[in-house]
């Protein structure tokens, strides 16, 4: 009898250099486990994240995308995450309106001191995406191996 392989979602995480990436480091040094199928892309600030990146990630096969940044008010560049928050609110609403991926994208604020929280956020998200299953709607099916 073949063992049913558990679905391993592909998740892309955009992490800002100053807070959330440092938070990821923190999770590492504190030996807090989070799934290895989460690929982190470091950006200088959450404001750098163009909605196009998120759509592109989904198009090329990501099952879930999460954006992490400094807590509002604590942005290293003062105001970056405020703009990002606005932008992502609109993007989320639009993805939901189109009937795709609204729940496959999430925004979380994680500070450099919150290593444990980083791991927890990632574990939660990975579980959530695994339950949703594979991304089909926003995926460019030509890119399947």
């Amino acid at each position: 009898m073949l063992e049913k392989k558990n679905f391993e979602p592909k998740i892309v995480a955009f992490c800002c250099n100053w807070c959330s990436y440092a938070g990821a480091d923190g999770a590492g040094t504190a030996r807090k486990h989070y799934p290895a199928n989460i690929k982190i892309i470091k950006v200088p600030c959450s404001c750098r994240v163009n909605p196009l990146f998120i759509l592109r990630a989904f198009q090329r096969g990501a099952d879930g995308v999460i954006m992490c940044g400094c807590h509002p008010g604590d942005c290293h560049y003062s105001t970056g995450n405020y703009y990002a928050r606005r932008r992502m609110t609109l993007l989320l609403s639009m993805l939901d309106y189109l009937g795709v991926a609204g729940e496959r994208f999430r925004v979380e604020w994680v500070s450099a001191a919150e290593g444990a929280r980083f791991a927890q956020v990632m574990n939660d998200f990975a579980e959530h995406i695994a339950a949703l299953g594979e991304n089909v709607k926003l995926r460019d099916l030509r890119c399947k191996k």
Partner: protein, 329 residues
Amino acid sequence: MQKIEKLLQKRAAELLAEGTVERVLAWHAGEFFYDNAPAAVSSADECDKLVYNEFCPANLCKYLIETSHAGKKTAVFLKPCDTYGVNQLLKDNRIKRELVYAIGTPCSGMLDIKKIKAAGAKGIISVSVDGDEVVVNTAYGEKRLAKADVLLNKCLMCKGAAYKIADEELAEPLPVPQFTGDKFAKVKEIEAMSAEERFAFWQSELSKCIRCNACRDICPACSCEQCIFDKPDTPVAGKAYADEVEEQMYHIIRAFHVAGRCTGCGECARVCPQGIHLELLNMKFMKDINSFFGQYQAGADSETPAPQVSFKQNDPEANSAVEGREQHV
């Protein structure tokens, strides 16, 4: 309207003869009365060929970009809804105020030839407006239609007769179509559908897209020197609909790029050769901006910062946009 047309011709000739402007943007007649095309004239003796009637829906403000580049002072005849576009272009630094001479042109609603044809008028020989009626003379007989029934969809949601920017007004304003309903009604209808229904709706709408880019090219908010869809090395530069996802990508990205800058002029939906309901994407963004960040009308003036380049410290959290929505994949 014929009176206004004469005033338009006279004023255009005056401005050119006086040297106040080097160019005038207005319309030229076509073959059928309903196919007026945007035109530019640069001498007073060409102005008697300019026209203005109930079939001048195009927003002329986009052509100001060209003339700003060329450094030519241009007079442009703007219907009330078109003036929003000029403010937006000013805000986006795409045109120079000193090179624009805006003339507020009265409008009482533009007619939709597609609706006239859908009402059964074909083989059209001529069209005229008689008070509240549209008289269509066809090869199959005469057809009379109520003007209110064949107005362009964008005119049904007229924002009013006030010009948001004008150096002068051509004539007394005309009564505009009164809109008392909820302009977001159709958007709310879609929001109320289930996720699967929404997906199916948008798949069927957006898969009609042939990537002609007319929506982008007529939009006053789409004025990038180098559009992302023109760069050959970007993944979304596909000139062809390789699959449904490409089409959705184009429309989502474009709607996002103009979010907060879209004035609701309705041109994108009017020009789409495949009849895609593009306004339902842009109106969704307008509704979201109003509810998440506060009431905002792009183009109402040329100073207020656009929603995506401003923020409030107590903006709602991004995830709240989908919290409480039903589970879907």
